[in-house]
């Protein structure tokens, strides 16, 4: 436990600064996500909108939120995330097809 003794200097200053920058962005994303959630809930709670308009807006909000999660919280924007991104998008593609199949065709 050598590293524990030296609590002052666990990481060099440059790294620390960079991590802090990153953290700031993440807190901002969180704030935005909360705002988006509030808008979504507010939209439904007010009950003013027709579902034809409301549903696309709600879905948009969800997609933006998920974008924040993936790109900021899960670092998909960072280097070395090429393959993860590829496969997540592959998964999303397969997921969309599945939804199209079950959602649209099941209704026929």
């Amino acid at each position: 436990m050598v590293n524990q003794a030296n609590t002052e200097e666990k990481v060099n200053a440059y790294e620390q600064e960079r991590n802090k920058e990153e953290m700031k962005k993440q807190v901002i994303s969180f704030a935005l996500m909360i705002v988006l959630t509030l808008i979504s809930f507010g939209l439904v709670a007010s009950g003013h909108l027709e579902s034809i308009f409301a549903i696309p807006i709600l879905l948009m909000m969800a997609i933006i939120q998920v974008g924040f999660q993936f790109y900021y919280f899960m670092h998909l924007k960072d280097k070395g995330h090429g393959m993860p991104a590829t496969l997540i998008y592959g998964g999303v593609w397969a997921a969309l097809l599945t939804l199209a199949g079950l959602g649209v065709i099941s209704w026929w």
């Binding site: 579902s51 709600l58 998920v66 993936f70 993860p84």
Partner: protein
């Protein structure tokens, strides 16, 4: 390279979770697994959408859902996402104690979420007699939300085992990837929840 993976300021890599081959493998493996999970949940969402209106005379989504509880649950889970980000921030700064603290908070928020969900299910079952046998809608609802809840339970158990095991060890290159994979998994649970509250609850309320 030695078996001892301890971290020192002078050798601390900027991404301790991906510094070793094993760490990189774990990192990739978990992401790929999440790709598969995407399809898994898409199937459940698809089924839910297809069976949403098949209430067989039982209660429908507008009869059941209330916004307040769901909003509270959403905030809980969203915050737990942020706290796990904090934990990873401290991991990169090699501050083990703070990392554990934030992970602990993450776990507590997760448990809070779970408690709400159990309360919600109990409410539906007792007050509305709405079970997963009531109608196709009931089956689909409990399958989707329950699968997500199951993922939360698994995440919390994983976190507890991880924290107990590493409580006295400090951070090193061997366990940093493990914490990181957990945090990725936890974020993904949140991603799924975003769609659950949008598609199930909010869209269930407008129509």
């Amino acid at each position: 390279m030695s078996i001892d993976h301890s971290l020192f300021p002078e050798t601390m890599p900027s991404n301790p979770e991906r510094a070793t081959l094993e760490g990189k493998n774990k990192f990739m493996g978990l992401w790929f697994f999440l790709g598969g999970e995407t399809v898994l949940f898409a199937c459940l969402f698809g089924i839910y959408i297809a069976l949403k209106n098949s209430t067989a005379g039982g209660p429908s989504s507008t009869d059941l859902f209330g916004l307040e509880l769901v909003f509270f649950m959403t905030v809980l889970l969203l915050s737990s996402s942020l706290t796990s980000v904090y934990a990873m921030y401290h991991m990169r700064n090699n501050d083990f104690k703070k990392m554990m603290l934030w992970l602990g908070i993450t776990g507590l928020l997760g448990i809070g979420f779970l408690a709400c969900e159990i309360y919600e299910f109990a409410h539906y079952i007792i007050d509305y007699d709405f079970t997963f046998r009531s109608s196709a809608f009931g089956s689909a609802f409990y399958a989707l939300v329950g699968f997500h809840g199951g993922h939360v339970i698994f995440g919390i158990s994983w976190l507890i085992v991880l924290m107990i095991r590493n409580a006295r060890r400090g951070l090193n290159l061997y366990n940093a990837p493990k914490f990181n994979t957990f945090s990725l998994y936890w974020h993904f649970i949140d991603v799924v929840w975003v769609f659950v509250f949008t598609v199930v609850y909010l869209m269930g309320m407008v129509s």
